[in-house]
Every structure is written in structure tokens, then in C-alpha cells.
Symmetry: D2
């Protein structure tokens, strides 16, 4: 299956973002986590849609991969500010996904 | 609910694209419809994800709305070449969605 | 387009659930809203996927429409306990969607 | 991250289904592949939505995992009838996903 490295990175990123967004709801400092939850959800939605698109032979997916790269970088920046394990792991998944997007685009 | 006009246009566009992509499979000239099916599916995925994002207060959705506008225009161009009722109706839904994206962006 | 009433009800329900889940994050009593946010997100995901499926001629969608009906009822029960406008409107969209699912199934 | 084995199996299954549905469009015997394309697309949509749900702490996901198990079995049955490499690999991904669903449910 073509693009499998990028598809795996996108799905892994989306899973971590969805998990982090939900786990933030159980933290004591939940009001501090609102920006993290929103960025997680946005990142999950864009990465999940792009993973579905990459499985197809449609010719022009660069624009969506650029959207993924940008939101992954933003989401990593937001998540890495928090010490929660789910935030740190999410930031790591986002960074790896942003790199996989860069490799695809270059 | 904010952005409800654009969300409705995106969901209507995605529904028509999913329906058109599937209905093309039952046409006799299916080999002629492959480009239409692929563009429909791409458009449906991007519009559906963006509809989900617009319901959130995440600050930066312009990039995704631009992606929607662009794929809606392309999908309308591809669909309107075919006389099938589902293609003509899909082209119409795509044009209306592209306009709603433009209104949002301007 | 076939099943358009149910598809519209599912997309309307998903949009309200996504909006309510996000708007809850801006409420002062956010800890009280966690159950509402989780149920909203689950309902949005199931209804959005089912709206995409109904556009296709795949023969067996009853199981997914039953899942929608069940989560819409649960989500309406959770949302209607809260006085926030987004919760009340979401409960209403969920009830209407549950009814549209019942009509489809009967 | 909890449920990571099932989430990975669901995302892998969805990616193969999306890829197979698209690759079928480039086959010479495309009319023979219509049932495969439709089942692929249905399976991809249900598995992708369920992967997103499993990342959350929402209590009741058994119904959706049962839906995944059932459509994965059906999709494997349809795909394995075809000799195309994408169909055989998709059938394998569907069987593994159905097993991961069974393990989760038992």
C-alpha cells in the first residue's frame, strides 16, 4: 500500500490527539487544558481525513498534507507545555507526523 | 449555532459527493466515471472534516475552508461534464458550497 | 438523493453535538460538563459516519442506524439536564435524529 | 494509550479498505468489483469512526465494536474472492481486525 508510512503517522497522531483531548477532561486543572483539547481535536480531524485521502489515487493531496504539517506543529507546541503523560506522548506523535508530512512534501 | 450556513453547505456537499460516487458505480459507462468517483470522494472527505471543525471555537480554520473551496470547484467541474442526474445535482451542491466558502473567507 | 431526511437529521445532530462539546469547554462549571462532552463527541462520530454510509447503496445499514438511535437518546438525556442554550438545542437535535432513525427502521 | 492494539487494527483495516476501494477503480474488470468497492467503503467508515471513539473514555463502545467485527468479516469474505493483490491484502487486514474486535469483546 502506497504512502503507508505517512498514513501510519497520521493515524497514530490522530489517535494520540483524540486520547489526549479526552484524558484532559479528567485532569484537575481542566480550565488550563481547554486550548490543548481544542487543538487536539482539530489536529485529529485533519489528520484522520488526510489518512483516508492518501489511500486514494486522487492526484492533488499536497494542500491537505500541508494543513496536517501545520496543525501538527501547532498541536505539538501546545501539548508539550503540559507535564501530563498523555500531553507529552501526543506532542511526540505530532512532531513525528509533522516530519512525515515534510518528507512527503519534499 | 455559529457558521451554520457554511456547515449546512459542507454537509450537503459531502452527502451529494458520497451519493454521486456510489451511484456512478451503477452506471453502464463506469470506466468514464472513475475521475468523478475519485474527486467526489476527496471532496466528501475534506468537506465533512471541515464541517466538524467549524463547530469548534478553534481559531484558525481558514486553511481548511480554502481547501474546501478549491476541491468543491474542481469537483463541480468534473461532475458537470456528465449528464447523470446525480452528477448534475452534485455539481450544483459543490458550486453552492464553494460560494459559501468564499463568503466565509471574505 | 435517497434517505435525505435521515442524512439531514444525522448531520444536524452531529453539528450540534460537536458545537455543544466545544461550547461546554467555555462554561464556568466545566467539571459538571465532562459527561456531556464525552457523550456529545461519541454521538457526533457515530452520526457523522452513518450519514456517509447512507449515501451509498450498501445493503445493510440497519445496525448502524440502531447505534445512532441509541446514542442519540442517551445524548439527549445527558444534554437536557443542563440549562445552557447549546445543551438544550443539542438535546432537541438528538431527539429529532432518534425519531428519524426510528422512522427509517420501522 | 489504552486499546492501542484494537485502534491500530481498526486504522490498518480502514486504510486497506480505502486503498482497495480506490485501486479497484483501475482494474479492467471494474463491474465485477462494485460489491467489493461498496463493502470496502462501508468497512472503512465504520472502523475509522470506532478507532476515534476508542480513544475516549466514553463507557459504552461494545455496540460499535460489534458493528466493526461484523462488517470486517463480510468485507474479508467479499475481498478474498478476488485475486488482486489489494483485495487479498485487504481481506487479511479485515480478518485481523475482526479478531482484534473479538478479543476486545470477550
Amino acid at each position: 500500500m502506497k504512502h503507508s508510512r505517512l498514513i501510519d503517522a497520521l493515524n497514530n497522531c490522530a489517535a494520540h490527539c483524540n486520547y489526549c483531548a479526552d484524558a484532559c477532561l479528567d485532569e484537575g486543572d481542566i480550565k488550563m487544558m481547554v486550548d490543548c483539547i481544542r487543538t487536539d481535536r482539530t489536529c485529529a480531524e485533519i489528520c484522520s481525513a488526510t489518512a483516508n485521502l492518501l489511500a486514494s489515487n486522487y492526484s492533488d493531496v499536497r494542500g491537505m498534507v500541508e494543513q496536517c504539517r501545520d496543525i501538527c506543529k501547532k498541536c505539538a507546541d501546545v501539548c508539550e507545555k503540559h507535564d501530563h503523560k498523555h500531553c507529552q506522548e501526543c506532542a511526540d506523535a505530532c512532531r513525528k507526523c509533522a516530519e512525515a508530512c515534510e518528507d512527503f512534501l519534499s
